[in-house]
């Protein structure tokens, strides 16, 4: 009986986790991939590990520490590259390693064993709490509202920032809000996929979507669908095979990408042959 309840809540948790992860990662990922911010996002992810370490050390929820570090590092890269004239990729590289270093130092200083450490590095559905799922759910709602209401504003600023400045004085405000929301999205998804793997959760679905369409809005929809298929499948496989969920999800998504790309190329070749025949 107890096993059933456990299994039931496990399934619900996994299902809700997959839905919210694919919504948040689909919306944030399309923005990140379109704007070529993948490296910045990788930097934010790893820098947030510093917050996880400090969280362990002072005994607060590590996700809160990670959120603070994530947002600060995103804004820090902007500050270092624009105000201090440090090359952006160098600034990212510095904050990336600096966050990891802080995380490692504080975890080392934390007395006793930190049992969840591996789950933060590589993700684990077992340690995902009800609060984590609720947080991801709220994040999904915020992102849907934000991108829904300000769709064109965000799209145009990210497509051509220089032109956007000719008609609006709120370009920087939107840039900072969007980047902060992406940092939060990344941090909340760390619980699912882990620091090391979360960036793929954002980047693979939009890249699969771009095999079908080049229209921003449709890329978002496809990314969410593809992300859900990958996450749910990975989740089921990891459950039955008893292997870590984060790695399984990413593995599933990459395989999905290879299959879809292969099928599309095959179809393309076949239709090309057909056109040759009909001509």
């Amino acid at each position: 009986m107890e096993t059933n309840i456990f299994q039931y809540s496990f399934i619900i948790k996994g299902l809700l986790g997959a839905i919210f992860a694919s919504i948040t990662a689909g919306l944030a990922g399309t923005y990140v991939v379109s704007k070529r911010m993948v490296f910045l996002s990788g930097g934010i992810t790893h820098a947030s590990f510093g917050g996880i370490g400090i969280g362990f050390f002072i005994g607060i929820n590590p996700v809160i520490g990670a959120a603070v570090f994530g947002i600060l590092s995103a804004l820090g890269v902007e500050y270092l590259s624009v105000k201090q004239k440090i090359r952006e990729d160098s600034a990212i590289g510095i904050l990336w390693a600096f966050g990891m270093a802080i995380g490692i130092i504080f975890i080392y200083l934390t007395p006793g064993y930190t049992p969840n450490l591996m789950s933060y590095l590589f993700g684990s559905i077992l340690t995902v709490s009800r609060a984590d799922i609720i947080a991801l759910g709220i994040m999904s709602a915020i992102l849907i509202l934000y991108f829904g209401i300000f769709y064109r504003t965000i799209l145009y600023i990210s497509f051509d920032e220089v032109f956007a400045r000719t008609y609006s004085s709120y370009v920087d405000v939107f840039k900072y809000i969007t980047t902060s929301l992406i940092a939060l999205t990344i941090v909340l998804n760390i619980r699912m996929a882990g620091v090391v793997l979360v960036i793929s959760l954002l980047t693979i679905p939009p890249n699969i979507a771009m095999l079908f369409t080049r229209v921003y809005f449709k890329i978002v929809i496809w990314s969410i669908l593809v992300g859900f298929i990958g996450t749910a499948t990975g989740y089921v496989i990891s459950y039955y095979a008893g292997i870590p969920v984060g790695a399984t999800i990413i593995f599933t998504l990459v395989i999905l990408w290879v299959i879809v790309k292969g099928v599309i190329q095959l179809i393309w070749k076949l239709t090309k042959k057909n056109t040759l025949i009909t001509h």
């Binding site: 379109s34 064109r152 504003t153 497509f159 220089v162 000719t166 609006s168 921003y216």
Partner: protein, 248 residues
């Protein structure tokens, strides 16, 4: 003729670097002014002052509020901004020219979309409305950005080096198009391509820190010498042109 805006002894600088000094300049309805001058002479800054992106350090600029306010200036920047691989369609790029009139909650009405369709038709981009930039040629891309500049029916159109990314076959079409547009709006065009613009503009302004306005479209060697504008002349086929000596 009614004026659109007027500058009175206006100066602008980037930090300590004075880029425009003591500029007096007036643009009227239906003007077609070519802005020429050396690189770094302040041509683009002049446009940026008009757009309100650079604040003058002294002097003033007065808009004729009956005809012109921030909403009615169209702008075609030098191509360099905007990622050609960005997943945004031609229609959506052209619609972004209406953003100036919208708040940041920016829904496009069916009317707006009709306007975009009209511009697409007018600029010969039919059938490409759902394409993204990388699928277009240089000339087509330029017309998309021109579409973005004119969709709001501006009273003043600012063009920054539009010759930069035109392939030659489109260039004449493009200037013909500008001549049509000039019936509805004043045009201020920055260019180093004197040979081509002299055949299309009505007057020109030479910007090299200071601004000299020349109310005729014929640019003579003496004019250029007097204004101290080193010009590299680029010119070609069919368009009537004058070849000027390299000077300075």
């Amino acid at each position: 003729m009614a004026y659109l805006f007027e500058m009175y002894s206006l100066s602008a600088s980037y930090g300590t670097n004075m880029v425009l000094q003591d500029v007096n300049f007036r643009v009227n309805e239906n003007d077609f002014i070519g802005v020429i001058g050396p690189n770094g002479g302040g041509k683009t800054t002049l446009l940026r002052v008009i757009l309100g992106l650079v604040k003058p350090v002294s002097g003033k600029m007065v808009f004729n509020s009956d005809l012109l306010n921030g909403n009615s200036i169209g702008y075609l920047p030098q191509i360099s901004t905007g990622d050609v691989n960005y997943p945004v369609t031609v229609t959506d790029i052209i619609l972004s020219g209406l953003m100036i009139r919208k708040g940041f909650i920016s829904r496009m009405s069916p009317d707006d979309k009709k306007k975009a369709d009209k511009v697409i038709e007018e600029l010969g981009l039919s059938g490409m409305s759902k394409s993204i930039l990388t699928e277009l040629s240089g000339g087509q891309m330029q017309r998309v950005f021109l579409g973005r500049a004119i969709i709001g029916d501006p009273r003043l159109l600012l063009l920054d080096e539009p010759g930069n990314f035109v392939d030659m076959t489109f260039e004449n079409d493009f200037y013909e198009k500008l001549r049509d547009l000039n019936k509805r709006m004043a045009i201020l065009m920055v260019s180093h391509d004197v040979g081509t613009i002299s055949a299309h503009i009505k007057s020109f302004a030479c910007v090299n820190r200071s601004l000299h306005y020349h109310p005729s479209h014929e640019i003579t060697n003496e004019d250029l010498l007097a204004y101290g504008c080193p010009i590299q002349l680029v010119t070609h086929g069919d368009v009537p042109h004058t070849v000027l000596k390299y000077h300075k």
